[in-house]
Each structure stands twice: as structure tokens, then as C-alpha cells.
Amino acid sequence: MVCEMETDQIEEMDVEVLSSMWPEDVGTEADKQFNVEKPAGDLDTLKEVTIEEKPTIADLTRLPDLLNSTHQGTSQLTNLVKQWEYMQDNAVRLLREELKILNRQREEAEAKELKIIEDYKFESNEPENVPVLDETSDLFRKFRQKKRDALVDSKRIEIDEEFDTVAYWKQKALSLEKMLEASTERERRLVEKLHESLKTMESHAAPVQELTQNLNRAEGFLHFILQNAPIVMGHQDKDLRYLFIYNKYPSLREQDILGKTDVEIFHGGGVKESEDFKREVLEKGKASKREITFTTDLFGSKTFLIYVEPVYNKAGEKIGINYMGMEVTDQVVKREKMAKLREDNAVRKAMESELNKTIHITEETMRAKEMLATMSHEIRSPLSGVVGMAEILSTTKLDKEQRQLLNVMISSGDLVLQLINDILDLSKVESGVMKLEATKFRPREVVKHVLQTAAASLKKSLTLEGNITDDVPIEVVGDVLRIRQILTNLISNAIKFTHDGHVGIKLQVISEPSFARDNALNADAEVDNGLTETSVWIRCDVYDTGIGIPENALPCLFKKYMQASADHARKYGGTGLGLAICKQLVELMGGQLTVTSRVNEGSTFTFILPYKVATSDDYSDDQDEFSDMTDHQSEPDDTTEGYFQFKPLLGSIYSNGGPVIGNGFLPHKVMLTTSPIKLINGFVADHSNNTGQSEMVQVENGGYVDETKLETSSGHCPESAHQYENGNGRCFSKESESCSSSQASSEGGTLEMESELTVSSQREEEKAETNLTEPSKPKILLVEDNKINIMVAKSMMKQLGHTMDIANNGVEAINAINRSSYDLVLMDVCMPVLDGLKATRLIRSYEESGNWNAAIEAGVDKEILENEQVCVRSTNRLPIIAMTANTLAESSEECYANGMDSFISKPVTLQKLRECLQQYLH
């Protein structure tokens, strides 16, 4: 009966839950859950107030409907109900079990009662009839009472009275009655308990409470999870109006949001996009995610990952969307950073590989260039042999035709040699091997020498002039060899393309050019060599009145192997490398080479270079050490002379050769007095005060000097007389005060041909040399301690047609030089007793002072020197060529610093010796 009642109850409750109670409750709960319960602060209360005051807000009223009308809502309810049912079932099962137990207990109790009653019936058969005595019964009762107390658990009735007596029965009846009472009492209590438990069961089983608990739990769970999550959730209807929103950190109040669309609420970037996205989801009916960056006034720039899903009602119609957004700004920033890093990485890798490629190409190029240089070098050696032999051949007896052919051969060979030298120069500059030397030099003298040298081989009636402004320092520091190379190149170029008029060099100091200021740091680093001189920029113009350069040819003028036009190349010859080398050299020295030109009017090549200005202290020291450039007792005028002119001779009988060198504009000054040896060496020095000594050399050197040497000085009448005595009759113009030509007059016919073949001046000189060395061989001294080296060098000299004296160390060398006059000394640097550098210094000191005091001080045998001292005195600077074991720049610097003129790196080769002899022996 109890069971039935309970099941009825459950069914009743079920019905109730589904029908009425659920929606209101859930609605409230949900509202609380999502909107009301905020952690802390003023907002909380505000929110709560809002909700309580306005319970009619769309979401509160609509959410239950929503939940009821959509699948999601019903499924949620179904779940809850199912859960509740399951729990009810469980409770019922438990109750049933308890009931079963109670029933069993009751049955036991009933059975016991029955038995007792039976017992009683059986035993009271007789006592019913037994009369009851008051006393005895009293007694009996007392007794029984005692007994019961004693045997309470025995459950047996023990009667002390004698069986079948009145007392006995009385006693028994009493005890039985008591047992019955107890049993009844127990039964009552059980029933009570049963009722009680039924009651509690009733209260526990209330479905509303169950659901409330569940909901509380769900709410707690959601709160726990969502407490600090940067999440916004919401539901929007199909017009995308918010029906419901949950925002952890709201910046807008409910009423500002609900019932409105995104576009109505926010303004700024991303709003439209998100709206479109939501609409798209709504239309497609497919949940999807997207990342949208909002830039709104409300919360700045933030990126949200938005999940939107469509919501259907039970009829399957779309009624709106659910949307959930999570702020991922930081992640996006990180991700973007990562992407950027990855991108950078990729770019860097690409660049790296590109760079590697470039390096590879550069290496290849370098290797190719190196190979070219090596090849050029390899070609040069045998070629110089060919040319050399041809030259020797030209000194033999040949008929005119043979000579012509031979000259073509020589000039072609020369051209190839020049080309190869240029290539070697270029590759040296390009590969950075070319080292610049910083030596002091006098720009005026360099200009003068360059013009002089050019004049010496001039075959046209051109006026060569040099003009140096007063502000150009007397001495500057720079790589004089390279500067001279540039000047020579530009001048010979100018002469080549000029048929009449004049060619000249102009030097002036300018302020620091703009291009240099940009590279100021680099330039400083490059030029700075520990000296503390101030810098000066000198602009050098090399101008001519030649054929000029058409404008369209200017850009490629400085390119390798390019000439203004193919016609020019044919007409004027040349390698097309000269200007390229000049440009590279100028740039290497931190300067700039430019050109301006007008066709048929002439061209001007301008290079601007920085120089250090030598300090005056160094100047005086330098006089002793670098005397090759300067005369020891030069007139003060000479060092500051700013104008030179080399004019063609009027009516010269040597129309092909002999240029006239003079200083027509400054006739009172000694401009140029030149010893032929010096001129040809390229180390032209002013020996105006040494004319007496020079004459001695002339005598010594024999006839060939007679022909070529013309030394005059306008300030000295006797010298002028001497000039005429020599009987050259070359100088018709009074303004021509000095002339020098190494071309022998006997070569006149040859020279005419050569001019057509553009043979370089050097070659002519060399030819003259080979001609003239026949009668008197130049005296060469080799200073070397190594027997093998001596043997090899001697043999080479022999092959070159020379003999040599040998000195085994510096002291022997000094003695030898003291004894006889030499034209060239080849000096080993590293020697026992006295090394080459010291020996050279002593020789230079002797040349200057005319005595060997320095040598004697240095410990060279006094007697020998003193004995010989008076007899012979060297008058000219003796060319001393160092032979060094290594060719590093330091070493060559050392050689120059000690007064040597040049150096040959060891091992000595035929080629090196030949070049050296060509340069220094004439």
C-alpha cells in the first residue's frame, strides 16, 4: 500500500515540473547568472538594481521563450528532467528497500505476537477458571515483577509459583499482558518512524528544489570557469539586435546594448565587418569563427576571435545567432610578431644566400682577374725578351726597309707591353693590392718634370706650360709616383690629341670639395698615417687645345678599353686603359677625376686630391734624405717658381725631335738645367750650381754626352758661352735657355717614322741608349754577399751586355765607389759588416758633403777613403737600386727613406734587371 502511494506522488510531481514551474525559475536563474552576479564594486549593485527595476528588459522576458522555442532550450530542459527522473527513481528504489526492511521487521513482530497469544491461550486454559486471591495475587504480582526484572532478556516467562495454582496463573497473565504492551508500543513506534521517513522523503523529493540545486551548481560552475575569462557572449535576433549579452567587463549598460545592433552601438573599424560576418553566418546557417580587429572609441584597438552560430526554433526556422567573442589582442600581436620574425628570418636567409652568391661571384671574378694578372705577367717576361732583342737588332747594320719593319715590330711590342702593364696596374688597384706610399714631394717640381719629360719626346710644335698658384705648398705628402703617373698619363693623352696650340697643367689650392666631406671619416682613416700635418686640397687641371671630346663619348671615357670612338683608336692608338687607371688611382687616393670638353676647342681633365702638408721641421730633415727631388743648394726662387713654359723651337733644324725647353716669361730666373742622365731617369734635378762638376761627368762619360748635353743657365754668362761652344746651334730663340734631347741626331730618319707609329718616348731614349752605350759601357757595381746571387746576377748582366764590379758588403761598396765612378749600384739590403741601407746613407752623405766623414765616423777604413778622396768626386746623384728579399711596402719605404732610388725584389730576374737598366742607365 505504501509503495503505491509513493509512485503516485512522483508522477504527480513530474507533471508539475514540466508544466508551470520551470520557465520562470530558469529565466530568473539564468538572468542572475549572466547579468546580475558581478564580482565586486559599484557596477554590481548598479547591475542588480537595473535588473530588479526593469524586469521587463527584452532578455528577461524573451529568454524563457527562447529556451522554449529553440532546440537548445528544450534539450536543456529535457536533460534536466531526465536527470531529475533518474534521481527520483533512485530515491524510490531506496525507499522501497527501506520499506522492505520495515515490513520484514513488522512481520517478525506480528509473528512473535501471534506466538505469544497462542502461548497465552494455551496456558490460560486453566487460569481462566482459577479464582484470584487478593493476597496471593498480590504476592504473585510482586514475585512476577521481580522475576521479569531478573529475566528480561530470556523472553521466557518463568513463574516461581507452584504450577496450576491461582497465583501462578495470575502471575502468568500479568507478564503476558506486559509483553503485549511492549510489543504494541514497538509497533506504534515503527509506524511512527515510517510516517516520519515518508514525510522527509516527501520534502526531499520536491523537484523544484532538485532543479534549483542543479541550476545553482551549473551556475557556480559557469561562474567558476568564466570568472576572469575575457569573453563576451550574446544572442542576437535575426535582425542582429542584441537580446542578451554577457560581458565580463562591460563598458556599456544593458539598456545601451539590448535591442540594438552592433552598428548602432559601436562606431569604428571592424564593427561593420563583424556585423557582416554575423549576417553571413545567419544566411549560410553554418557556425563559423573569425578574427576581427575593432578600433572603436569605446575600447580602443582590440582583436576578438568571434564564434557565431545560427539559432533555430523548433520549427527549424532561423531566429537569430549566438555569438561568443574572446579578446586575443595580445596573442594576435605576438603572432604577428612571430610572423614578422619568421618573415625577417626568411628575408635574411634569402639575403644571406644572395650574399653568398655574390661573394662567390666576386671570388670568381677576383680569381679571373688574378689569372689575368698572372697571365699578363707571364706574357710580359717573354715579350720583353722579344722587344729587347728587336731593339738590339735595330742597333745593328740594317738597310732602310729592314729598319722600318723592325720599328713596326718594336712599336707593336711596346704597345702590347704597355697594355699588359696597364692591366697589371688596374688589377692591382682593383684587388686592393696597390699600396699608396706617403712621401714628401714638391708639386712644382713634379709638374715641371712631367712637362719636361713630355717636352723631351714632343714631336709637335706645342707649347707646354705649367702654372702653379702661390698658395700651393712647397712640399706636400702624397704618393708622388702615382701622382706623377696620373699627370704623365693625362699630359701624354693631351699631347696625343692636340695638334697645335698648347697643353698645360694648372695647380691651385681649393677648399674641401663636397664629395670629400661626405666621406670625411673614411678619408681620414685612409689618409691618416700618423703624421700630424694639416690637409690641403689641390685641384689640378690638365688642359689642351686639342680635338676635344664629343659629349656623347664623355660617359664611357673612363671605362676600360674604351676610347672616344673607334676612329680615334685607329688614328691615335693607345690601350684605352690610361684614363681608367688614372681615375682609379685618383679615387684610391681619395680624390676625384672629372673632364670637361668642347669639340675642336680642347679638353680639361681635372683631378682634386687631398694632400698632407709637411711640417717645416720635417722639411729640413727631408732635404738630406730625399735629395733626389731637390737640389742641395737650390736657389730659393726655384722651389717657389710657379710658372714653366716649354716652347717649340722656331725654325729648329731638328723638326722631328728636340723640343725646346725654356722659361720665356721669366728670363731672369734659372728655370731648367738638365743633365741628360737625370732627365732620362725621370728624376730631373736642378744642377745649376753644379755645372762645373757636371762637366767632369761629361768628360768621363765620353762622347755621347757631348751630343746631347746642353746645360745653361741664364744667370751665368760663361755657361751660355759654353752652350754655343758645344756648337749645337739649336737655340735660336733667346728665350730658349735650355734644351735637352736624348735623341741622337743620327736617328733623325728613324724618328720621323716613329712619330707615325706613336712609339713612346721611353723607347726612343732606350734606343739612344743602346746606340750610345757601344763606345763606353756604363759601370755597374753589385753589392751582394751571397755567392750564388752574385753568380746569377753577373750572368744575367752578361746576357744583358754589361759587366759588373762586385762588392761583398757595404764597406767594400763604399771603397769601390770611392775608387771609381759608377753609373749604377745594385745594393743588397741585408749584408754582413755594413748593410745596404747604411751604406746608401753614407754614400748620399758623401755626395752632399763631398767627404766621407760620416763613413769614417761609422767605422769604415779611414785611410783608404782619405787617400782616394781627393782624386774623384762624384757629382751626380748615383742611382742606387736596392735588392730586397721581400717586397712589402714597409721595406720599400725603408729603402726610399735611406736614399735609395728604387728597388728590385729578389730573386733577381732578367726582366727586372733589364727594366732597371732601362730606367737608370742612359
Partner: protein, 154 residues
């Protein structure tokens, strides 16, 4: 062996000396200097080189064998040897001398000993090879042949 073959093998042998770096182009310079007026020039120079070098190496061994090595004595010897080897084109001897001199500057006795061994080794190598070369040449001359000219630029 017939003459042509001998000449061929001499050429190959010479070439191998250059390829192995035992000789460099300076040796060609010597050969260029040899002509009718001086037919034995190369062997004369080389013989002089051998004599000189034997002496130098001997001196070097003695100097380096001293308790206290006097580098002022050692260095000029090495310089001398460097100069002569460079002059005849004994490239590897020269290179070894360059290294040797560096250690002389550093006064590194132990390294100098090593260098001396290296120089000796290279010297005996070039000596051996050159002697063989001359023998080959003599054989050719003895068979009435010409010494083939050394090819340039291989």
C-alpha cells in the same frame, strides 16, 4: 733508351719538379742564362749552391746544438740560405727558410730545430732531384742529343 725518349723523360722530369713546387720560375731564369758561351752555367750555380748550403746547414746544426743558442749567428745563416735558394729557384727550401726566420725572430729554439729538419729535408730533396736532372742531361748530351728547352707556362 733512345734519345727522343730520354729527352721526353727529361722534359717530364723537369716538369714534375715544377709541378711539385720543388723548383719555381727562377730556375728557368738560370736556364735562360745558359748558352754556348757558358754551357754548364746551371750546374755550376747549382753545384755552388750545394757546397754553400752544405756548409750553412752544417753551421746551423752546430749553432742550434749549443747550450745557449746565439740567434744572431743563426739568423744570418738562414738568411743566406734563403737568398741562395731563392736565387736558384729552390722554392720549397726558400719557403722553409722563411718559416725558419720567423722562429729565429721569436727565438724559439724548439721550433728552430724543427725548421732546420724541415729545411734539411727540403734541401736534400731538391739536391737529389737536381742531381738526377743533371744526370739525365748528361746522358742526353753523351748520346749526342740536345737538352730540350723548358716549356714556358705549363
Amino acid at each position: 733508351m733512345d734519345l727522343v725518349q730520354m729527352q721526353k723523360s727529361l722534359q717530364d722530369y723537369t716538369k714534375s719538379l715544377f709541378l711539385e713546387g720543388i723548383l719555381d720560375s727562377q730556375f728557368l731564369q738560370l736556364q735562360q742564362l745558359q748558352d754556348e758561351s757558358n754551357p754548364d752555367f746551371v750546374s755550376q750555380v747549382v753545384t755552388l749552391f750545394f757546397q754553400d748550403s752544405d756548409r750553412i746547414l752544417n753551421d746551423l746544426s752546430l749553432s742550434l746544438g749549443q747550450q745557449v743558442v746565439d740567434f744572431k749567428k743563426v739568423d744570418p745563416h738562414v738568411h743566406q740560405l734563403k737568398g741562395s735558394s731563392s736565387s736558384i729557384g729552390a722554392q720549397r727550401v726558400k719557403n722553409a727558410c722563411v718559416v725558419f726566420r720567423n722562429f729565429c725572430e721569436q727565438q724559439n729554439v724548439e721550433a728552430c730545430h724543427r725548421c732546420l729538419q724541415q729545411v734539411k729535408q727540403e734541401y736534400y730533396l731538391v739536391k737529389n732531384r737536381l742531381e738526377t736532372l743533371f744526370k739525365l742531361e748528361q746522358q742526353i748530351v753523351a748520346s749526342g742529343g740536345m737538352i730540350p728547352a723548358v716549356e714556358l707556362g705549363f
